[in-house]
Symmetry: C2
């Protein structure tokens, strides 16, 4: 764990996480709680459905991809939450057995004008499967603390 | 469960779901798996943090609010998945003990030009707490089947 503050990020940086495999039981477990549609929870119905088999909930994919980024530990002591997400796109279905990793590309690290102790980090988050296909992409933002020694 | 097809939706309709309470153990359970930041998993650290206490992961809130919408059952037989989300905003922290319900406002139900059996439904999804505060809002879209009798 090595906390990064706002000043430690700059546009163009790309961070790549470790991978995480998604198995059928976890896909169904998430969906039973948070997205109980047959394409995520019913193997037989899903086989007859538009994706010809079970796929992960898009919320599951998004959460998992975000978790891999959190696991890098950069924001553990510096995060002040996030305002929201833009342009979230589910591009390729995630199926049992797929392994995802996350790439984060930094777009902007801008100090706040009104609050000198913080700023906003904007970044593109991409989830990528074992075939190199981007399965999800979104424009994310986080409020981050500035380095303590830079704050008056 | 009463499936709704594309033709069953029209702009201006508002659907309101039942409520669901979020307790501390579920907030921490989700976060341990999908968003293991101290503000979601460490009661002591969270008390010292920017929200002065544990709050739910934004991914958890989004997933729960979506699940309440799924539970209405409208899309069980008609959904063909979704392309993505725009303008997701976390507006108010969700804390242990809060009860959320979902309101869905239909914006557009437009038949596909190229695929006569389906169309796209656009809607605003809002998660609302027990004080009537909107805690999350997002612009959602789903691909939906048209009524079978309307498809040649």
């Amino acid at each position: 764990m090595h906390t990064k503050y706002l000043e430690d990020f700059e546009p163009g940086q790309i961070f790549r996480t470790r991978g995480m495999s998604m198995d059928e039981s976890e896909i169904m477990d998430f969906a039973r709680k948070y997205d109980p549609q047959p394409i995520h929870t019913d193997r037989e119905a899903a086989a007859e459905g538009p994706f010809e088999g079970l796929i992960a909930s898009g919320w599951h994919t998004g959460s998992m991809v975000f978790r891999l980024w959190v696991d890098l530990g950069f924001m553990e002591k510096s995060s002040l939450g996030g305002p929201g997400i833009e342009n979230l796109r589910w591009l390729v279905p995630v199926r049992p057995g797929d392994t995802l990793h996350t790439e984060v590309e930094i777009i902007e690290a801008r100090p706040s004008k009104s609050k000198p102790d913080r700023g906003i980090l904007r970044y593109i988050t991409r989830g990528i499967n074992q075939r190199g296909e981007t399965v999800i992409t979104m424009d994310s933002a986080s409020f981050l603390k500035r380095r303590p020694e830079n704050v008056e």
